[in-house]
């Protein structure tokens, strides 16, 4: 067969590489600001746009979708062309993928700062941007699959299997989890409520980790590690087994984010066992990577690219062992809602994703610029500072998590909580938070060194935008399996069939877990006293969502003595049926709020307390790390949305009476005046139309209905 000459598109790779570096710095600097707000809450600056609840989604989305996302595209656009011996399918699609993705990131940052959010972690984008994400993602998929279809190699390599699984699964996850009914351009309600919303969200959230942070990076490892080490892949068979086991098992594990929640027991059990079964398939990737380095370990000492890779793969192995351990009920009872989860996530993000991204950049930038990396010394320095940064980041958080969980659970001999004031358990962690910030700061210093090194590399080299390559055209082969051709080998030359098999593999787990929650009523027993929110409470709840309160406060009391003693009755599935979206949270930087409105409860605070607390939390307790929310007191509630909100809720099945949308604001004003009058009796002058009134109304509603049901509230009788 005659050789054909073609050109790899390096320009698109370069664009993605630069975007990776830029957004990496942005995302991590925002992360550092968040870390510092734990120590100095005044760093929220008293304005909405820089407050923890709003910029935390900017940090997480920037790191995941902007830094890691662009890093993923960088590596895929580089390796896919070379593995397919073909230029990208279509240059215009490449450009749309690139600019569309950057546009999404900018829109995300702006809308999050403005408080436009769905309140679902890692899926906070509002519906218009969600649609844009879907479109751009499909453009990426079309471009990738197009490239694969016009490839000049018979078989698709394991890296591409992972890329395809990434594309297929993220499409399914993003679309399913983002289904919502718009109220207006900037606000929507998810079609799911309460427990169902929680399950869909964490099916998404967990698998965003799996298929956005893991599978594409395993693909990158399978290309860049053997290339950099110049060694053959250790075991093709292991690639096959761990690939299919990984994508099939991963999708089931989402419920491990909801252990000891109101999710039915059987679903929790599935979350536990599928997480534990994931250890070997995950380690398959680490093992195949590390054993590929056999015979090349001397080079690891020399070559920064390999060094970064080895730590990345090791971090991957650590977090994929730690993850399943955290998915057991015993460990989860301690790790959940504490900084353990945050530490775990950052071993993955900083170690696995961050270091592998830099390994890839250190590999491909010098090659595209036809030169050597400017300085190995600086790269080594980056490596050591970064590694030290990860250790300083994670270790104090593990320490802090165990400290805090122990404090939450400790009882005195008299049978009372030893630390009944939640704040005590936060104040205790301040030194750990300071050390964590130092660790994060070190990591950023490393990144800056890396960027400096790459800039000098770029300056010293000459960019090769169109890299010539040649390969014979792909000979027509028959569709059927040849004699002696293994079934998998056959699948590797049939990419469309490959995609379909992968799709089936990832759909099974999700369907089996999610569908019964809709069809089988007993999974969510109803509670008669649980009623829809009043219009004022609904508006208040939307402010709660807007301000990202869920980033620090849970609404999910676990069935532990230490939690029912602190908060009140543990969470029931039936109490969340009108919660679009659910707001269970995943981390307690402050106390759980789901029993806040129970007048006879332990958490109850009068209206005037909430007013004073939002105005200046540190006046009530100088140790508090709660941000100031004074704009709630000055800003008017937007009453124009009430009617539409009621109608959307009715459409979603919330039983407001017919025509209620027309009179909802009347009810709203009556309730608001009541709260304003109560505040007035405490010497606080505030108009009933201010946002704070709605927020107070919502907080005072929390837990009321479930306690009204006369749930037995077991209590310790003090001696």
């Amino acid at each position: 067969m005659e050789n054909q000459t073609f050109y790899y598109d390096n320009k698109i790779v370069k664009n993605f590489a630069y975007a990776t570096l830029f957004w990496g710095v942005v995302g991590m600097v925002v992360g550092l600001l968040l870390a510092l707000q734990f120590i100095w809450p005044a760093l929220t600056f008293g304005i909405p746009y820089t407050t923890f609840g709003r910029i935390r989604p900017i940090h997480t989305n920037a790191v995941i979708f902007a830094f890691v996302g662009n890093g993923m595209f960088t590596g895929i656009y580089y390796s896919l062309q070379r593995l397919c011996k073909a230029r990208m399918f279509n240059d215009l699609l490449s450009k749309i993928n690139f600019w569309g993705w950057q546009l999404i990131i900018v829109l995300a940052a702006v809308t999050f700062a403005c408080g436009m959010t769905t309140g679902k972690e890692y899926a906070e984008l509002e519906w218009p941007i969600d649609i844009l994400v879907a479109v751009i993602w499909l453009v990426f998929g079309a471009n990738m699959i197009g490239t694969i279809l016009k490839r000049r190699t018979q078989h698709i390599y394991v890296a591409i299997w992972f890329y395809l699984a990434t594309f297929v699964t993220i499409t399914v996850l993003h679309v399913t989890n983002s289904l919502a009914i718009p109220v207006n351009l900037f606000k929507s309600y998810p079609i799911y409520a309460g427990v169902q919303d929680a399950l869909v969200q964490w099916w998404y959230g967990h698998n965003a980790v799996a298929f956005f942070l893991t599978t594409p990076f395993l693909g990158l490892m399978y290309y860049f590690l053997p290339k950099a080490a110049n060694r053959p892949i250790y075991s093709y068979r292991l690639s096959i087994v761990h690939f299919w086991a990984l994508i099939f098992l991963y999708i089931w594990a989402g419920p491990h984010h909801l252990l000891y929640s109101a999710l039915p027991g059987w679903a929790q059990s599935l979350g536990v066992v599928f997480s534990v079964m994931l250890i070997a398939p995950s380690w398959g990737g680490m093992v195949n990577g590390l054993l590929t380095l056999r015979g090349a370990w001397d080079r690891v000492r020399e070559d920064p690219v390999l060094k970064f890779m080895v730590v990345a793969v090791t971090a991957y192995g650590m977090s994929t062992f730690e993850g399943p351990m955290m998915s057991t009920k015993t460990v989860n009872a301690i790790s959940h809602f504490t900084d353990w989860t945050v530490g775990h996530a950052h071993i993955g993000a900083l170690g696995w994703n961050g270091f592998l991204t830099f390994a890839v950049l250190y590999y491909l930038i010098p090659r595209m610029f036809q030169t050597q990396l400017y300085s190995r010394k600086i790269a080594n320095l980056h490596f050591w500072i970064g590694t030290l940064g990860i250790i300083f980041y994670a270790v104090p958080l593990y320490w802090g998590a165990i400290t805090q969980a122990s404090m939450w659970k400790e009882f005195t001999a008299d049978g009372f909580l030893k630390y009944p004031n939640f704040l005590e358990t936060v104040t205790q962690l301040k030194p750990m938070y300071a050390t964590r910030a130092i660790g994060g700061g070190l990591y950023i210093v490393g990144i800056v060194l890396g960027i400096y090194n790459l800039i000098l590399t770029v300056r010293a080299g000459k960019f090769l935008p169109e890299e010539a390559a040649s390969a014979p055209a792909l000979a027509k082969t028959q569709g059927k399996r040849g004699s002696g051709e293994g079934i998998h080998r056959w699948l590797e030359r049939r990419p469309v069939q490959f995609i379909l098999v992968a799709l089936v593999a990832i759909l099974i787990g999700g369907l089996i877990e999610i569908v019964p929650l809709y069809l089988v009523k007993t999974n969510i027993p109803t509670i008669a006293s649980v009623k829809p929110y009043t219009p004022l409470e609904l508006q208040g709840r939307d402010i709660y969502v807007r301000e990202g309160c869920y980033t620090c406060h849970s609404q999910q009391v676990r069935p532990f003595r230490s939690e029912t003693e602190r908060y009140g009755e543990y969470a029931k599935a039936g109490e969340y049926v009108y919660d679009h979206p659910f707001q269970w949270g995943s981390k307690r930087n402050g106390p759980d709020l789901s029993r806040e409105g129970v007048v006879n409860g332990r958490q109850y605070k009068p209206n005037s307390w909430h007013y004073n607390h939002m105005l200046n939390p540190q006046r009530l307790n100088e140790q508090s790390i709660m941000p100031v929310y004074k704009w709630l007191i000055t800003d008017d509630l937007d009453l124009s949305t009430t009617a539409k909100k009621i109608r959307v809720m009715q459409f979603l099945g919330v039983p407001y009476p017919a025509g209620y949308d027309k009179i909802a604001n009347d009810d709203l004003m009556i309730q608001a005046k009541g709260i304003a009058d109560d505040l007035k009796s405490q010497g606080i002058q505030v108009e009933p139309t201010k946002e704070i009134i709605a927020m107070i109304a919502y907080l005072q509603r929390l837990g009321k209905d479930v306690h009204a049901a006369g749930m037995p509230t077991a209590t310790i009788t003090g001696k």
Partner: protein, 195 residues
């Protein structure tokens, strides 16, 4: 290339492992190694563990779901019924005056009470406790009573589930010492003047 796949056996020179012929992607080769045995065993063990787990929790239900775990935990802690307010005869109680008790009372105050009454008892959300007025009675026994049972409709919660009777007496005794002090920004008097 694929045609002569079985004819020659190529070996990796560094490890001596067999290379798969025809498996070459942008110069990346693949070895014909088997799955590591320990890895296979690890996988099998986790699968067996999972099957046992599901049978124990969800089929035979011999391991407890969380609701039962909770019942067990509460039973073990000796917790059974809602706590009853300890009846206190306001007139007979006498405030503690020893320094150790007052210090202990102050510690509780700073943890629990000041978020509404502020550090010096000047009041903000809750009433001023330094002036000569009171909503719920001025005697030491009245203070013990209001801390114990609360007046939730007015914003004061009951502390009997969070503080022992002993602790309540100490913090109430400390509160008695606040009267007549002059912290900054005192809240206007509320309730009835004390006799």
């Amino acid at each position: 290339m694929e045609m002569n796949e079985h004819k020659t056996v190529e070996k990796d020179e560094l490890t001596g492992d067999k290379l798969l012929s025809g498996h070459e992607y942008d110069n990346i080769r693949e070895l014909d190694n088997n799955l590591p045995k320990w890895w296979v065993w690890l996988f099998i063990i986790t699968i067996v563990w999972s099957v046992v787990y599901i049978f124990a929790y969800d089929v035979f239900k011999i391991a407890p779901y969380q609701q039962d775990e909770y019942k067990n935990e509460m039973a073990a802690a000796g917790v059974l019924s809602p706590g009853q307010p300890a009846p206190v005869d306001a007139s007979t109680l006498v405030a503690l005056t020893d320094q150790a008790s007052l210090d202990a009372g102050k510690e509780i105050w700073l943890k629990q009470c000041k978020v509404c009454h502020l550090d010096g008892g000047q009041g903000l959300v809750g009433p001023n406790l330094t002036d000569n007025f009171s909503i719920h009675g001025c005697a030491y026994g009245d203070v013990v009573n209001i801390i114990t049972n609360g007046a939730p409709e007015k914003g004061m919660i009951s502390w009997k589930t969070q503080l022992t009777g002993d602790q309540i007496k100490k913090v109430a005794s400390f509160v008695m010492t606040l009267k007549g002090t002059t912290p900054p920004n005192p809240k206007a008097p509320q309730g009835e003047p004390c006799k």
